[in-house]
């Protein structure tokens, strides 16, 4: 997959992230990520995890049924920030990252608004035949 940041030392990679169980693997990996970033504040750790879980959850929830769909999560630390890249092979997405929150009693539709508020940067791009999400949270 065309990862812009690549698999440099210290980068954690979770492959086959296509089902809800993957969220646990990603959260376990985030715990390991902080071992290499003791300077990260508690708030940054919490906000990063909130944002990444929402993006991965969105990918898993909208994963096309059947074989052939792949998604890979990469996590890393660079300077004063943690970053995540989520690449998937699904069809191009038409998502408004600036959409607001739904009505109070809606049971869904808050995930990306929550991710955007928890992250300092949240992007979605089409790279070749992949969707590329990025999350960045500084401390």
């Amino acid at each position: 997959m065309p990862s812009p940041r690549g698999d440099t030392p210290g980068v954690l990679r979770i492959e086959g992230c296509v089902a809800p169980e993957c969220l646990d693997h990603v959260q376990d990996a985030i715990v390991r990520l902080w071992e290499g970033a003791p300077q990260a504040t508690d708030e940054a750790r919490m906000m990063f995890e909130i944002a990444v879980v929402e993006v991965v959850g969105n990918v898993v929830e909208h994963a096309p049924k059947g074989r052939g769909f792949e998604a890979t999560v990469r996590l890393g630390v660079e300077g004063d920030a943690a970053w995540a890249e989520i690449l998937d092979t699904g069809p191009a997405l038409d998502i408004d990252l600036d959409a607001g929150l739904p009505e109070d009693l809606a049971e869904s539709g808050r995930g990306l608004a929550l991710a955007r508020r928890a992250a300092h940067e949240l992007t979605l791009d089409r790279v070749g035949d992949h969707n590329l999400w990025t999350v960045l949270r500084r401390w």
Binding site: E21, L23, Q27, M46, E49, V53, L101, S108, A113, A118
Partner: protein
């Protein structure tokens, strides 16, 4: 997630989801809330004291549970929320709708 259910009276219930309340666990919790309300326990307190992490799916299950409880003439209230849960409620402004109470007893005694 591990889910414990306590039924203090014929109309009340306390549910305690422990661990991470994300996508898969949210479905389990919503099913448990629906069943509890269907059994007549329509005043529910969700004790989140040992919920390590809440995502938007888990929040959706709580909102869905609130709707089901209210439709049955009851209510759904949160108790003992930690920093992460409180942050998710605040970032989504849902702390206005799902007011967190300090203790389970406070939640039962409220409004």
């Amino acid at each position: 997630m591990n889910l414990e259910r306590e039924l203090p009276s014929p109309t009340t219930a306390v549910l305690r989801p422990r661990g991470r309340l994300t996508m898969g666990a949210a479905t389990t919790l919503k099913t448990a809330i629906d069943g509890t309300v269907a059994d007549g326990h329509h005043l529910l307190v969700i004790d989140l004291g040992e919920t390590e992490f809440l995502d938007s799916s888990g929040l959706g299950a709580l909102v869905g549970g609130l709707r089901v409880a209210r439709a049955a003439g009851g209510d759904l209230r949160l108790a003992r929320v930690g920093t992460q849960v409180r942050t998710v409620l605040e970032l989504t402004t849902m702390d206005r709708v799902l007011t967190p109470y300090v203790t389970v007893d406070d939640a039962f005694a409220a409004g």
